[in-house]
């Protein structure tokens, strides 16, 4: 049974966004990290890159699989989680604690297109 955190927004491609003010912390869900297996690399954008809702911004790789990262919101990257460069396995340890990018959200209304914890729980069939 995967961990799901209340109060976050979830996408169908298994990313979450935790909103604090106009900043969103984006990562992959616990369910996604479990499906992927041991994460060996996280391909991240650069600070100041623009991301758009539903568009790819990077990828997570395990030994025999790779999964594109789709941004749940649009905005500008203000920080990337550099700890993942040295230790990508942190995503497996705690996917919600170890966000991947921090984005300044440009359109808060896009959050309405995402699921809440309950809906995401139903979405992954748990």
């Amino acid at each position: 049974m995967s961990k799901i955190v209340e109060g976050l927004y979830y996408s169908e491609s298994h990313e979450y966004v935790k909103v604090e003010g106009n900043v969103g912390f984006i990562g992959i869900t616990d369910y996604a990290q479990h499906e992927l297996g041991n994460v060996v690399y996280v391909d991240m954008p650069e600070v100041d890159d623009e991301v758009s809702q539903g568009e790819e911004f990077g990828a997570v790789e395990s030994v025999k699989a790779a999964s594109d990262l789709m941004s749940p919101v649009s905005g500008t990257v203000v920080e990337v989680n550099e700890a993942l460069e040295d230790e990508p396995g942190l995503v497996n340890k705690d996917a919600f604690e170890n966000w991947i990018i921090k984005v300044e959200i440009s359109d808060a209304s896009e959050l309405d297109n995402l699921m809440n914890a309950e809906a995401y729980k139903a979405f992954i069939g748990e």
Partner: protein, 450 residues
């Protein structure tokens, strides 16, 4: 129905068909609409016995001529130690598949690891992939790597002193991949620094490709080039003659981001153009952008040091259309060729080969420049074993006369320029013979004029 490659007897076929609930071999194809089935034999010759096959190839071989090679231009006639073919013909290497099943492929995986180590050392770079098809396609892959790395830029600069055979392939890939190629002019046989500075200053360049030694055999000075590339967020890519890297300044020392080229000069037979091996080396920072296979060290369940294909999540079989390259395999057996060559030659051998080639080429250059109708095209420029000469006479006639004597006398670049090459496989006598023929033509012409 007996044939040496088909072990089934009629009885075998019958019992196997029985097991499948079928009556004839044709029944295996009953799902194919009849109009799509070929109802005749191929229009090809009947089977040949081994004796006949040998005779045929002997006969075809008679239409070829092994010449004394004074031509290079991307393929070099170097010494090839006899050990190499003996080991390459071992069917445990020759008939094995790509080493996905690491437990029974340590032979392949280990030599690829050795190959990567040697190529990294030779180029002065940090990492190498497991090899690519040839130097041309490796250079094209390096170009695409620069584009992928730059994300939003789609232009590369290519020096006009890069071998045009390589440029031709790189430009083909560029055309289809949507990459803009601009040329950096050549002035007096070397890349124009001024033109380079002008073109990179425009700011939209993802990569810059230069050659060492260049097409005319000249070893160029790239001081400051890498910095200028990096200031403009472009990758500096050097296409190098692998053998020459045993002595000339390495891409690593020049500060290049990618070293590419053909490994043929490391003893691989000329073989009418292939198989050769492309190499591609880069920095650790760019390893995930590097195309092709990579072998890494790891441990097995018992803690034994082992080798395995790694970073596969970059590759086509996982990333599909998002892969860094569509390349599936490497040129494994030829990577083994190079690995054994470099093992045998070691530090000193590589230097000796270059020293011998240098001596032969410079002797040839000096002798030929003494003749009236010849002059070195770029007399002030340093070269190793290849150089361009101007000939104020009929080049076609000269080359024909050399052919008569069993010599391939260089590559004709234009009506008055020849690109000549001499490696360690030539002897002083062979060179003297060629000079004598040049002299002879000159004397004959002089006599005719008189």
């Amino acid at each position: 129905m007996t044939y040496k490659y088909f072990p089934h007897t009629d009885e075998d076929v019958r019992s196997m068909l029985d097991k499948c609930g079928l009556k004839s071999l044709d029944d295996l194809y009953q799902d194919i609409p009849d109009e799509l089935v070929l109802h005749r034999d191929y229009d090809l010759p009947e089977a040949m016995s081994e004796i006949e096959v040998r005779n045929l190839f002997n006969e075809l071989g008679n239409y070829n001529e092994k010449l004394n090679c004074m031509i290079g231009a991307g393929c070099y006639d170097h010494y090839s130690p006899s050990v190499i073919n003996a080991i390459l013909s071992r069917s445990e290497f020759l008939t094995s598949y790509t080493p996905y099943q690491a437990e029974i492929s340590q032979g392949t995986l280990q030599y690829i690891f050795e190959y990567q180590s040697m190529m990294a050392a030779l180029t002065g770079m940090e990492v190498s992939n497991a090899s690519m098809y040839d130097g041309c396609t490796a250079t094209a892959e390096a170009m695409m790597m620069a584009i992928a790395n730059a994300k939003k830029k789609n232009k590369v600069l290519i020096s006009d002193t890069l071998n045009p055979i390589v440029t031709r392939v790189v430009e083909t890939y560029a055309k289809f991949h949507g990459i803009v190629v601009e040329h950096i002019a050549a002035v007096d046989g070397v890349t124009s620094r001024e033109d380079f500075e002008k073109k990179i200053a425009v700011g939209d360049v993802a990569g810059v490709i230069v050659a060492a030694p260049n097409f005319y055999g000249i070893v160029e000075d790239y001081t400051g080039w890498a910095d200028l590339c990096h200031d403009n967020k472009a990758l500096f890519i050097m296409n190098c003659n692998a053998s020459a890297l045993g002595v000339i300044k390495t891409p690593g020392e020049w500060g290049a981001d990618v070293a590419v080229g053909d490994g043929q000069s490391l003893g691989i037979p000329m073989n009418f153009g292939g198989p050769y091996v492309g190499y591609l080396c880069t920095s650790k920072k760019l390893i995930r952008k590097m195309p092709g296979r990579i072998v890494g060290a790891t441990k097995d369940m018992d803690g034994k040091r082992t080798f395995v294909l790694t970073l596969q999540a970059r590759e086509q079989h996982i990333r599909r259309e998002k892969a860094t390259s569509n390349i599936c395999s490497n040129q494994s057996l030829m990577a083994l060729y190079v690995t054994i060559y470099l093992s045998l030659m070691g530090k000193q051998g590589l230097k000796d080969v270059n020293a011998l080639s240098y001596s032969n080429a410079h002797y040839l250059a000096e002798q030929i420049a003494k003749l009236d109708k010849f002059e070195l095209a770029y007399p002030e420029k340093p070269f190793l074993h290849e150089f361009a000469v101007k000939y104020h006479g009929d080049i076609d006639y000269l080359q024909e006369a050399m052919l008569e004597a069993g010599i391939q006398f260089g590559l004709k670049l234009d009506n008055e320029t020849l690109l000549l090459c001499a490696t360690e496989t030539l002897t002083k006598d062979m060179i003297d013979d060629a000079i004598m023929i040049c002299q002879g033509i000159q004397d004959f012409n002089d006599a005719a004029i008189d």
